[in-house]
Point group: C2
Chain length 525, copies 2
């Protein structure tokens, strides 16, 4: 048998050298396999037991149990449209505006279509072109393409296209009235990537801790779990509009230190997710006071900064920091801040395009080089996502040809969001056992539901948290998919639900109200 | 002073409640800051010393020291074009075709421009549209958009758009003549993301090891360093065309086990990077034999599968596995395989668009659910990148309107790549002290440079590895940016350089030859 193996292998090698075609190789390969000795005792396949425990522990409720159930019901409806008490799933679990009916901004998509396919400029006459693209669209596309080196298909610098970073720096400087430098800016594939980098640097073992607001967007707890680092919750105060209590933050820091955990970072989500709250300058100053005292890197998740309603102005954390540094020279110079923004939210809603930036304030060149190295391992963020960041922070200006249409679209989206937020808020306020803070921004409401003992017991019997049970019942009765408050963490003994207010129309809100009344009656103690 | 703080804070709160405009809030905020008590002793800013050691240890030479030097020289040239002995930098350090002169495939970019901006279909007459888009372009764009739920701006399923995964499954089935299932396929933002996920699961501590080929694409060593896991090198044999020695692989496994490290995974890069080698079916079977015996998850990095020249056919690892499983029932059923593909290479060259897939073979539903959870934390891969995967694996077919043009473009790119590879290979073979294996695929050459003692000593005096020194001298004399072999690892005592053969023209090759002759003379022992 050995002889036959040898012959076949020799033939195979010769065949390779003589550039044999595919089918002959395959034939020899099969024959060689047949002649091989049987394989000795086998190793074991990998199962869930072999998986890194940190990965098993990480949870991300936004695409967790309830949304997965919703996907299954969606499939069921596709196969049998009459089989459920509703005709479609309403994904109110995730801030995904363009999955519902929000249209993308025309200016963005026109520019992006041109940078993807610049040949269009040569294939149509000027008159034909003008049906598709106003002059400022063409101009912007040409500039973006030039900055990218000629093609969005080439890897860019790992830090992001230099020209786009300049645009971001200008935006920040205009927004805050404080200088910003393109070298401090990293373009990313959205906020999630930025968070992963920073926590990987400073929060990567149980001895390091990151303060996170409760309730929080579960990217933070998930990333900390993956890193096997310590999550240090500080509770936002629901009754005062989800405000931040600096004393509490300091207590959390001191307690962690006592337990042998060094807090290295603090996350601040402003405008809040899931709370919809906007922090006052006072709140922000107090946070910096603690950060300065304990050397905490501040991660300012500001992705909803364009989603404020008119009531309260958003103030960036960087702005507040600069004011503090000027008015109290020396006192806040040690503070390090990472500010995050994203194209997924605001009125852009370009979630699927994956783009964002982080601005690094107060970090040495050496540390920035390490962050650059980390970014380089994944090569670069998607270039069209980077281009969309440029577009987001630098929309058409007054007097430019696309300005009016762009403003019209933006205002329509703003108004729609504001109206839906208001409608949904009023609906919740009208329900028995439900109270809801007025949303000042973001895309969510986070109503508190005072579930009865009966409901709590029923949930327990099903192996669910009480709010998970409420969400499951809501989903199965109405098709509305939400996320239980337990996914965001909350004061123990309280129950919440996070819903977006993005879905169009009012019918779904009416269904929710009907469901809630029936649920309430069925679970009265 | 306390009184004044109180007054200002009250005014601030009232201002907030009365929906004050921005400038008033900022004014109050500044005043409040002025009245605060001074901040107690400060915490320390984070420096490099505070950074996770694993991040500090990770290296990624493709964008390492030499490429960073090249960037600095590029900036210098932009400011002062006469200041260096060359007029431009040639980035031969990275497989980035569209940064050089490779054009994207027209069909792809036409489709993508339409899915970004479908309004185009309503804004032009049929005659005008036909100047831009043939009917199959429009049809494909409409199908891709429908599969994505109507907009590329919405988050997709975390596993990737279902319809695109079906297309990938069809492609795999046709390529191998073996069934493939869309449920086993995950769309990703390129191979880097897939590798990060799999290693995060199975190779995340020093007790776990991953076998990697030497030389290797440094994504693997970088990711293992970040994970604090053990890299277990197995050496490819340069003299026999960089072939794989199964006995050596088994020795590496046994040695690791003796040292208390459990090998869990083995990476196979085929076609090879940086080697350009294509594995025979025999080589692949031998790898599976060891994988089966020791329960190793096989990561098949097959991103260059469309970059074979005509000499040797690429055979997928999955195909070989299925043949083994059929011809030796029971013997290979425990083998788990992750096959990677990407839109960055082949003739697509869409590096900056970030798209790829991984096919999971032999994993339980449970394990796949964990991988899905991990994917969900970053929400979803960029949707247009996902669409480009669909386009890559399912190009225009014969008889379709775009077929001829598409074939013409593909063949031109193939021919250009083949010709450049051949030209560069011949150039290296003509140089004193240089030998180079014939490239069978991928985009790189990895010539061996037998540096003299004098050159080695000079490198040492500059604190560089010898091949790094060669690359630096080459860069400073000619503008050609390459990556030293030490970045990919190599047999100790040998020196290599990795260069792409993507740069157009022959001048740069002539410059390299001239440089080498001078360098050789200057460093004769």
């Amino acid at each position: 048998m050995l002889g036959r193996i040898a012959i076949v292998r020799n033939v195979q090698r010769t065949a390779l050298k003589r550039s044999t075609g595919c089918s002959v190789l395959r034939q020899f390969s099969v024959q060689a396999a047949l002649f091989k000795q049987p394989v000795p005792p086998k190793g074991r396949s990998k199962t869930v037991d072999d998986i890194n425990k940190c990965v098993l522990n990480a949870k991300y409720a936004v695409r967790g149990r309830i949304p997965l159930l919703a996907e299954a019901l969606k499939t069921q409806l596709a196969e049998n449209p009459e089989s459920l008490p509703f005709s479609k799933i309403i994904n109110a679990n995730i801030g995904n505006p363009q999955q519902l009916d929000q249209k993308p901004l025309s200016f963005y998509r026109q520019v992006i279509s041109l940078i993807q396919n610049p040949d269009i400029l040569n294939q149509l006459s000027p008159a034909e072109l003008s049906k598709l693209y106003k002059p400022d669209v063409i101009e912007r596309a040409q500039r973006l393409l030039k900055d990218a080196g000629g093609s969005v298909g080439a890897y860019s610098q790992s830090q992001g296209v230099a020209g786009y970073r300049e645009t971001v720096a200008d935006f920040i400087a205009n927004r805050d009235g404080e200088p910003a430098n393109a070298n401090d800016i990293f373009l990313t594939s959205g906020a999630s990537g930025s968070v992963a980098h920073i926590l990987q640097l400073f929060c990567s073992s149980p001895e390091n801790g990151c303060l996170i607001p409760i309730p929080q967007y579960p990217l933070y707890t998930a990333t900390l779990a993956l890193n096997n680092a310590s999550a240090l919750p500080y509770f936002l105060d629901e009754e005062s509009g989800w405000s931040t209590d600096p004393q509490q933050i300091e207590d959390v820091v001191k307690d962690a230190i006592k337990r042998g955990v060094t807090p290295t970072t603090i996350v601040v989500i402003n405008p809040g997710n899931p709370t919809g709250a906007i922090l006052s300058a006072e709140n922000i100053e107090a946070i910096f006071e603690v950060a300065a005292r304990y050397g905490l890197v501040v991660i300012a998740d500001e992705v909803y900064q364009e989603n404020g309603f008119d009531d309260v102005e958003f103030i960036s954390m960087k702005k507040v920091l600069r004011v503090l540094q000027k008015t109290q020279p020396g006192a806040y110079d040690n503070v390090q801040l990472v500010s995050l923004h994203s194209i997924s939210k605001g009125v852009s809603g370009e979630c699927g395009q994956r783009g964002g930036y982080m601005e690094l304030v107060g970090f040495s060149e050496e540390v920035k080089q390490v962050i650059l190295k980390l970014a380089s391992i994944s090569l670069c963020p998607v270039v069209t996502g980077q281009a969309l960041v440029d577009l987001m922070v630098s929309p058409p200006k007054e007097g430019e040809p696309s300005y009016e249409q762009d403003q019209k679209e933006r205002n329509a989206i703003h108004e729609a969001l504001k109206e839906r937020a208001s409608l949904l808020h009023r609906a919740f306020q009208s329900l028995e056992g439900v109270s809801c803070q007025k949303p000042l921004g973001a895309m969510y409401l986070f109503p508190k539901i005072d579930l009865s003992k009966k409901a709590i017991a029923k949930a327990g019997s099903l192996g669910m948290t009480p709010d998970e049970y409420y969400c499951k019942e809501l989903l199965e009765a109405t098709g509305i998919c939400t996320v239980p408050g337990s996914g965001f963490h909350q004061v123990p003994g309280t129950f919440h639900v996070r819903t977006t207010f993005l879905a169009p129309g009012t019918e779904w809100i009416e269904s929710w109200k009907e469901f809630h009344e029936k649920f309430w009656d069925a679970h009265r103690d």
